[in-house]
């Protein structure tokens, strides 16, 4: 299969609408464009329309209006060409528990036109790649959640697709399995695969995605690199906790040379907040400045806006289970 034209968008969505039963607008006028070779993270809570969009882009659902092109082909009128270009790992890994991993991979190979010997070789190679060689001939029903997701990813790769769709690939996985899957997704992207990933995990979007789109109620509310999105809602803050409240005046003077200081909180006299354009780069000069005034420091931490802050700013609500603001302690 020829590689995607680097100049053409890997995914192009214009005015996409999908209604269910003529009333519910699961996708409500989406515009979206993915460049070839990027990882795009689609972030939103349950019911935001993420899965509906993935199902349209993978030809499983028809749009009510608007259009979508994947790998340069229209998802409705050129569905077969789209299917040749994409790999799909759907939510709740749709794999038959009565089949073995190897059987599933060989069947998937046949579905993508591989002949017997070729499908067999490809299956063995992929099983090794996702670390399932030892479990290859066991029924999938006995696999752990992480093993199933890895197998699902391998299934999506059988035909070396240009664009890979991963619908909540790590939902319900333990941190180790999640990290393993992330490594694999990064490796695939390094090999040139464009990845469209939906997630409800902020950390996943932050760790993996070159660009993030935030979806709520079927609409794209914000889009950009994680850093650009976070910069939209505020700059990092340096939080300094000193040992002795009597040093607060000296500390304020020392830190004032580095940036603007927020008004003191009478309830926390040892806590000073410095607004800094930099992130953790601001820690060493702050410590040096405080040390020069002999102010004893208990803790210095950087508090950055998170994608959840961005999410809250653009949608007015927070993602369920979102983490507290990130802190880099020193």
């Amino acid at each position: 299969m020829p590689p995607l034209d680097a100049a053409a968008p890997a995914v192009e969505v214009r005015g996409l609408v999908r209604e269910f039963k003529g009333v519910i607008r699961a996708v409500d006028g989406l515009d979206l464009e993915l460049s070839a070779g990027e990882i795009y993270g689609f972030l939103g809570p349950n019911g935001a329309g993420k899965t509906t969009l993935v199902r349209i882009l993978t030809t499983l659902l028809r749009p009510t209006s608007g259009y979508a092109r994947v790998a340069g082909f229209d998802v409705v009128s050129e569905a077969d060409r789209v299917r040749r270009s994409i790999g799909v790992a759907l939510q709740e890994a749709a794999i038959d528990p009565l089949m073995t991993g190897r059987e599933l991979l060989r069947m998937q190979g046949a579905l993508h036109g591989l002949r017997g010997a070729e499908a067999k070789r490809r299956a063995s190679g992929l099983l090794e790649r996702v670390g399932l060689t030892d479990a290859a001939d066991r029924r999938v029903g006995g696999y752990s959640g992480g093993m199933r997701r890895r197998l699902d990813l391998a299934l999506a790769l059988v035909h070396r697709p240009d664009v890979l769709f991963l619908d909540e690939p790590t939902t319900g996985l333990d941190p180790t399995s999640r990290a393993a899957l992330w490594r694999e997704v990064r490796a695939l992207n390094d090999e040139g695969t464009t990845v469209f990933l939906t997630t409800q995990y902020l950390e996943e979007a932050e760790q993996l995605a070159d660009r993030v789109g935030i979806i709520a109620a079927g609409r794209l509310e914000a889009e950009g690199t994680p850093d650009a999105l976070k910069a939209r809602v505020g700059e990092p803050r340096l939080i300094v906790t000193i040992d002795d409240p009597a040093d607060a005046g000296d500390a304020r003077e020392a830190l004032a040379t580095l940036g603007e200081i927020e008004a003191a909180d009478p309830a926390a006299p040892c806590r000073l907040v410095l607004l800094t354009g930099g992130g953790k780069e601001a820690i060493p000069p702050a410590i040096r400045a405080l040390d020069a005034r002999s102010v004893a420091v208990e803790l210095v931490e950087v508090e950055s806006p998170t994608l959840d802050d961005v999410f809250a700013a653009v949608t007015g609500s927070r993602l369920e289970g979102a983490s507290k603001p990130e802190a880099t302690a020193a």
């Binding site: 993978t58 030809t59 499983l60 659902l61 028809r62 077969d80 060409r81 299917r83 040749r84 994409i86 799909v88 759907l90 709740e92 749709a94 794999i95 038959d96 009565l98 089949m99 059987e103 060989r106 069947m107 998937q108 046949a110 579905l111 993508h112 036109g113 002949r115 029924r139 299934l155």
Partner: protein, 261 residues
């Protein structure tokens, strides 16, 4: 690579998968292999006196006479379970995996039915062997046996087509399971275990319109090597017409499902 050969490989792969999974699912194996034999045991031992009724055809044994009924019952159940398995694939999301692949939609239906065909051949061979051990004889010889295997397989595909069409229209596993009793209505409105001449007049009239009538009689004629018991031509004609019609129905049901997606 010719597109046809490619689709052929898809159908083979899906058929192989359907067949192997069938053998791993006890709830599908019981009705297809065990239930028809249990019914055969009951009928062959409990109603064998029917053989002495005036008008009963001159056959080798009552067991040989009712065996075709069991074989066709097996074919019905093989077809029905393929619909159940398809509904299960739809409910679990596995069918989406197949839909997201670059294959002709008709291959997805034919792949499922290829599994049904394989299942029916194995099942019929098993019934023929078990009945042989219990004294059934096949004067029709190799031609009769191969003909019966083929006839049952085409019938199973025909029933599988209806079951697949219903599964594709409804996507409901529980609905598919509730269809089970209707299989027996189809079977008992055909001369599966009694000659047509000895059926109640109403049933006998109904039997004329039941395609299984001709299939059962043809299997009987083939196994006994006696065309007067049933015309193979009528049997194959009915089975093939049923299969063609129901495959078309299933393909239409899939197209309708995709149109509504």
């Amino acid at each position: 690579m010719s597109a046809l050969a490619r689709e052929g490989r898809v159908v083979t792969a899906l058929g192989r998968r359907a067949l192997s999974v069938q053998f791993r699912r006890a709830q599908l194996l019981m009705p297809t292999f065990v239930l028809p034999l249990m019914l055969l045991a009951v009928i062959a031992s409990g109603t064998s006196a029917a053989e002495d009724l005036p008008g009963f055809p001159d056959v080798d044994s009552y067991l040989s006479f009712v065996l075709p009924g069991t074989i066709i019952q097996g074919a019905l159940l093989a077809g029905l379970t393929s619909g159940i398995a398809l509904a299960s694939d739809i409910e679990s999301g596995f069918f989406d995996r197949l839909l997201a692949a670059p294959v002709r939609r008709v291959s997805l239906v034919l792949g499922r039915l290829a599994g049904t065909l394989g299942l029916s051949v194995l099942q019929t061979a098993f019934f023929l062997l078990v009945a042989l051990l219990f004294g059934a004889r096949y004067p029709g010889g190799a031609v009769g046996l191969v003909g019966t295997l083929a006839l049952a397989a085409v019938t199973a595909v025909g029933v599988g087509g209806i079951a697949a069409a219903i599964a594709l229209r409804t996507g409901s596993l529980s609905l598919m399971q509730s269809i089970f009793p209707f299989i027996f209505v189809l079977l008992f409105t055909a001369p599966a275990f009694f000659p047509r001449e000895l059926l109640d007049p109403v049933l006998a009239d109904l039997a004329v319109y039941n395609p299984l009538t001709y299939v059962v009689e043809a299997a009987r004629g083939l196994l006994a090597g006696a065309a007067e018991l049933g015309s193979p031509l009528a049997g194959f004609g009915s089975a093939l017409a049923l299969a063609a019609a129901t495959i078309a129905l299933a393909v239409l049901a899939l197209a309708e499902r995709l149109r509504k997606a």
